[in-house]
Amino acid sequence: MINAKNIVYHELIGLPINVYKFNNNYLNKTGTVIDETKNTLKVEIVGDDGNVSEKVFPKKVSVFQFKLPNEEFVEIEGKILLIRPEDRIKKRYKKI
């Protein structure tokens, strides 16, 4: 089960996301993750007028906030996700 402790090893596609910061500026674009590559996340965003658009955000300069199925919210710096999604399970992260 996906939770705050194992989210960096887990699949991100399908999770509700808020792109909180972009290039150190506040952005706050909310949507759903629909695709992931080594350097980018593709997000489906529904506008105020109901139009659906897809936007690609680079991981390196962004801060993402995810809503998990167990109603937890997690904030992740995009820098630590800079790896192919299938290889992310192998990576070792520093515990604070």
């Binding site: 960096v8 506040y26 706050n28 997690v74 904030e75 992740i76 630590i80 992260y93 515990k95 604070i96």
Partner: protein, 250 residues
């Protein structure tokens, strides 16, 4: 806002006198520095010292800061690296500020490489160089470990030893400019005669070669960031991952 994270703590009476003196000279926050062996004893009487600052005797003075805060800092001093790792695991959840006393080259390296440590204190201690090189400086900036320079070392030394210490300080400042690790300036006072006005301290370090904004960062912003970061440490899961309460709206 001026913060001194290194005032040497001994017992209840001397701590109270030092806190009064620091408050009188315009410091906004002080942390009593206790070795890991005595840390638990000190935390028992910290609340009593805090209560004493609500008395009218202190708040009537002209120089007193009414928003004066006191805290404890745990300093690990050991030459055995494995023992240091054990102490870090033991004391990290119990204190807001964790530091390691430097000096030995292996200890300096362990402290700079460990992300759980906040401060590497006096890396030049009992050495014939500054204790930090380009490798350690890079590690310190990656792991956000602050390097501390102590004013007491200059105050209580004489002649050639003092000149060498000034040279070590300049070496550390040069590395700080290149690698941008956090730098902290503190008094290290163990008696009331070692406590100086924060403005005196800033002018001394300006003479050594620091610029205005660098001194201000290292005497107020960097210590404040360390304390704020450690308040939210429970919500941090990994480096760069933390729990929040909801999507932020700004």
């Amino acid at each position: 806002m001026y913060l001194d994270l290194n005032i040497k703590g001994n017992n209840y009476d001397s701590d109270l006198i030092l806190a009064k003196e620091a408050n009188h000279w315009g410091w906004n926050h002080i942390s009593f520095n206790y070795k890991n062996n005595n840390y638990y004893n000190a935390s028992a009487y910290l609340d009593q010292i805090k209560k004493n600052f609500t008395n009218k005797d202190f708040t009537n003075k002209n120089f007193t800061n009414k928003d004066f805060t006191i805290d404890l800092r745990c300093e690990i001093s050991n030459n055995n690296c494995n023992q240091i790792q054990k102490n870090i695991r033991n004391f990290r959840p119990k204190t807001k500020c964790l530091s390691v006393l430097g000096g030995d080259s292996k200890v300096n390296r362990v402290a700079c490489e460990n992300i759980k440590i906040d401060i590497l204190s006096r890396p030049y201690f009992k050495r014939k160089d500054c204790g930090i090189n380009h490798v350690l400086a890079k590690e310190a900036s990656e792991n956000n470990v602050a390097i501390e320079l102590c004013f007491k070392d200059i105050l209580n030394s004489y002649l050639s030893y003092r000149a060498k210490l000034l040279m070590y300080f300049r070496d550390i400042i040069n590395l700080y400019r290149k690698f941008e690790f956090p730098l902290i300036l503190s008094s290290g006072a163990s008696s009331i005669y070692d406590i100086r006005n924060p403005i005196d301290l800033t002018y001394f370090f300006k003479d050594i070669g620091l610029k205005d904004d660098e001194v201000l960062n290292s005497i107020s912003n960097t210590p404040l960031n360390i304390l704020k970061f450690n308040e939210n440490r429970d919500n941090l899961i990994l480096k760069g991952v933390k729990k929040i309460e909801g999507f932020n709206e700004t």
